[in-house]
Symmetry: D2
Subunit: 401 residues, 4 copies
């Protein structure tokens, strides 16, 4: 193998050099007398990325899936009614977990390509006069379809209904990449992982918890131990952990937080939007291809799921990219298998890297038989990148492409 293995999956993402350097270290004592100060600073800065003044954050040696489980098992009780929606592989898996952990799930099934059905949620919340619904779940960014939902709108629906349910958000592929305002949006539990916007290897499950959710925790009785808040709170308050933490990743997280906070979250979000627009411009230029997302209001700034042209097996595109062009594209998951491929555009990336992603996709599409014009997508992306810069990008809360 020669040169880079190009990585354009929606996580694990490319690790910035300073972060890579920061993890090239010998081991250390996680009970050292000065380790506590290090941890306290880390948790404090992590809250800034979550845009959280109050509440807490937890960092588990786990994946985002573990953080999902922690969110549920620490704040809900067996049989609790919750409102969820399912419109892609990851929202589907979250529903599956909720059911397996014993929740009474009211699932809204939505066409893949759209996101959280805020109007349906609003109607159900208004109808739930007795407040049986204990929590409302939302996948902010459905990684399988490249669809971003409007979390602030869900908060408005809750508020308009005067409903006290907690708001759970899966932010695994959105937090630290696209706009996320945990406290301003009234999110109670927000799940993330190290291997996406935090630009680290996988291995940390990250959880933001509001004061309201911490209060719910006091009355939550599901069996739990590894993922329990109570043990974590007790030790975190001293700067330590109830069991051996993944110190190497914590050192990497320190570097990642420095990079993110030095840039400023608004700049990070604007950067992701600019990159995503370049990819979408390329997709628009490819004859026969189209985004899985069913409209600009759903466009994700961290990943684009792209339907291959009719008659083309997206698995061929992905396999060719991997074996012939040393490029990892995201696969089509579940019902999208064979129909779509994905380009991850979050984390440590830049326009020229995305030109290479688009080039690899173009060559692979053509090898698979697609009649797209060579260079058409790259040209469109180039022209977008030429006339925009991170500084020129005004971050707004709208998601219009």
């Amino acid at each position: 193998m020669n040169g880079y293995q190009h990585l354009f999956i929606p996580g694990p993402t490319n690790v910035p050099e300073p972060v890579r350097q920061s993890m090239n270290i010998p081991m250390e004592d996680m009970r050292a007398p000065d380790f506590g100060d290090f941890v306290s600073g880390l948790l404090s800065d992590l809250k800034k990325v979550y845009r959280l003044q109050n509440g807490r954050v937890f960092v588990f040696p786990a994946s985002g899936t573990g953080a999902w489980e922690s969110a549920i098992s620490n704040t809900l009780n067996t049989g609790d009614k919750v409102l969820m929606s399912r419109f892609g592989q990851f929202s589907l898996l979250w529903v599956d977990m909720a059911e397996r952990l014993g929740l009474d799930v009211d699932v809204c099934d939505v066409e893949w390509g759209k996101g959280v059905p805020v109007e349906d949620y609003a109607a159900k919340l208004r109808a739930d006069k007795s407040h049986q619904i204990k929590a409302v779940f939302a996948t902010q960014n459905e990684t399988a379809t490249g669809v971003t939902s409007d979390i602030a709108a869900i908060r408005r629906a809750l508020d308009d209904a005067g409903h006290p349910a907690m708001l759970f958000v899966d932010g695994v592929s959105s937090i630290a990449s696209i706009e996320f305002e945990m406290e301003a949006w009234g999110v109670d539990l927000a799940v993330s992982g190290s291997q996406k916007g935090f630009m680290l290897p996988a291995g940390l499950g990250i959880l933001g918890v509001s004061d309201k959710a911490l209060a719910a925790h006091a009355k939550a009785t599901m069996p739990r131990c590894y993922f329990s808040f109570e043990d974590m709170i007790k030790l975190n308050d001293t700067g330590y952990f109830p069991y051996t933490p993944a110190t190497q990743l914590l050192r990497g997280l320190r570097c990642s937080l420095d990079l993110l906070l030095e840039a400023g979250m608004e700049t990070v979000w604007a950067r992701h939007k600019r990159l995503a627009q370049g990819v979408r411009a390329a997709v628009a230029a490819w004859d026969g291809c189209e985004l899985v997302a069913r409209g600009p209001e759903w466009h994700s700034d961290t990943v684009s799921a792209i339907y291959a042209p009719p008659g083309i097996d997206a698995r061929d595109v992905i396999s060719t990219a991997y074996y012939k062009y040393q490029t990892s594209l995201g696969s089509g998951l579940n019902k999208l298998a064979g129909r779509a491929f994905r380009i991850g555009h979050l984390g440590s990336l830049n326009p020229v890297m995305l030109c290479s992603a688009i080039s690899a996709a173009e060559m692979s599409l053509r090898d698979a038989g697609a009649q797209i014009v060579p260079g058409s997508g790259v040209a469109a992306a180039q022209e977008h990148f030429r006339v925009t810069t991170p500084d020129m990008m005004q971050h707004t809360t709208s998601k219009a492409a």
Copy 2:
């Protein structure tokens, strides 16, 4: 800070240079078409370290504590009666977890400094004619006290009683370091972690599972998701994982397994015994110090817990070692706080490194007021190391020092 920060805690352990190199990598796609072959080979070789022909191994992005939870929640049911013993901080925590997860725990409390009370276990098993005891738990190496228990003897007790209970072993600080024969000893669930004998950063919870335990899994109904065997089996059988694995650590594990298997497990065990004997020779030479382990039959080859001389606060020893001598010693946990310190001697170490550990301890002990003779411990260790070599060491199953 100048020079190495010396690390002599019983985990995380020192990472060998080849393992460190193997983790200095860019990220990769955990769904890549050839990733499955990598994983399959890894799991297969991991079984060799566990000395397991049948059954399975699982690797979770978690700590050993997570693997404990997985072992229980996948094979036992709420209210199941289990037999456990408690003689140090880690066996204590395991009992705590078992109780919190809803098991009916019959706990044998043992003097700290001794290990699993095999005779008591045998008596209880013989008395349990109706086979209410579903599982017998044993901490092979109690990291807090430096005590190793005799797992083969527990197996004999089970067999002598004709008892069908499963045998659970906490091998976090023993597997890949001291003799462990999962299949020959009839162990059903054996827990380990990456940061001990595997010489990796923390972040992987490792679990060996016998065919008998896999059969029990089919009837086990505790809620579980992240740590469930069923999801892991389904995906592992294809070479993949049900959620994002810690790929960087898996690459490190590949290198670690290569080092361990190339040396041969018998050589690895003999090496640990030789190092441990050097440390014990030093302790014997220190006036007023003694091992927490109450006799040679309990001596651990991976960690020595050492009582400071009367009147000396072990916390001063540890703090001085850290701040004045850049050396991390293990602290006295729970009831040993202030009374004992620990020297970890597992993983990637050699005799000269242990001479530095002993030197740091000697200086710190004297600074804390202990009247030990300068150099006495180092001299004793030196003379041991001079006349022994890994090749000369004949590994035997006896634990005599």
Copy 3:
């Protein structure tokens, strides 16, 4: 900064991950008893890359410029007449060195864009009946202009004239990248450096020396010490060096040689040709751009020097690429400053990386005012890469593009 800093200069080149890993090491004793075996194996394998059965190779802690000096000062005498040609910044600097070291240089000045004037050399050699010319110098690959000369043809000219002069070759940007046959071509001194085809950081000056040149060394009297063959031979014969070698780079060289020799030099050469052809296809597609090389017979497979369209300052292209697109392109040196930019395409690269290089160049060209069609170069390169593979490429000795 986000994502890779893209590096497309003709050296230092991108370092492969295994090589990077191999240099992430602690220091070692260069007088260790087993270091000699390591060095002996290294020098032996290095000869394979040079395609040298007899003679020797030397590795100096230096740059290629140092190896140039070593070649001259060890085999020639003050006032010796030599035949050189000058057609770019590096051949120019070599002439300058030869003059400063006291040689009597007969310089052939050639239009930049062409290479060694073999016919002129042949005429001069035939005319030199008394064999005053002690050495003939040739820059195999002029890095400034992207021009490759025909070394085998120079050998034929020497042979046809029955001339005994030594043949010196600057192979800094050709050896380990494009065809080089030191022994078959009768090259007597061949200079290289670590930071080009060897894919290492700069810091090693490498020199191949024929038996004939070693014989000349015995009679060469220029003052020399650091770069003297005699000290190096004496110590190298035992596996050591006369002064502290750059051990970290030697460990990297070990890995690099393993990669090169495992692939096979013919495959390495074919790979470079394929990549170069892709870049040349892109240049051909850009309106107004053209190669500095004055014809296919001069095309370099390791670097393309490209004239910007009339009216466009190539310095703007390079500066924009660096600051706006995080891409390092090669600058126009000496008389090419402002007129040309360069794309290095040697070392650890692959087609998708070159698509990113071409994209960066396209965007920068357009930003600088060039009227090229967006995506035109990338499209041409893509179509080339799609229909060729390293396996399909039949390496031949012809240089036709």
Copy 4:
């Protein structure tokens, strides 16, 4: 191999972790528009380590031997008379180089174990009324014997004689480790290398040059090219180099300078003295061993050369340390071969590391048949380290142990 390979040679020295991290990088363009600022800052800070306000520093991709050659060939002329002294392998090699480069060397041979004969120098300088002596050479720290000479005293001898000769200092194993005041001591050329006090891999030859030496350069006519000041000055003034610099090492040097200057040179010198005193205390405790240095006025704070007891072959000690104890000790060079071994104690070290060095030496000495008391040296060193701290150490210009 398990655990660290212990490195206690007088260079290459142990690399601090931050420096190691700083060199774990991709390659970069040494002609990048912002590279010049990086280089200018580097050279400026390097002068601070040399304690040089005026003059210049040069950094060559080379070893210290190359910097020696640069010093001579740029400031002296063939046939110039110079005053040198020879009392160990490195001062011997410097004389050899001076002779081979055509200087007329007046050599003072001194018993190995003593250093520069200042009184003899003074007498010769006073006698040289016509100022034939163009330069006086002094090896500040003779690495082979562990002998430090008094450079300030040589300056006084020159001044007392009113002699205008330049003062050349070999500071390879002293600069950045023990007191060195280039400007205050009137040193004109001072040579160092990256792999000693700068705690980097080998590969940089470093040279400090006074304004007086720069003036001499204008009239110096030896042939030179690679090591010429003129090319380096011209390019360095713009922040660049005349040929490809070793950028990876330059990035490491940036980190090293940050560490050194943050600590402060006086602290660095005091730290080395404290470590050296510990080693000397150990040697004093070993029956039959003694320092090669013939008195405290010669004691080196960076390396101790130690005579093995009568009848013991020091080569056995070194070989045993290497193969049995994974420890690299320095060998006895030239006439010290078999008689002495060396412990390097410069660079990134701490007391506990030296306890391990002393332990390895004790075991190896005893294995080789020496009748030293086990632990005796470690005990003496421990007691020294216990009662001293870097903060307690008052740096003074005296060298008394």
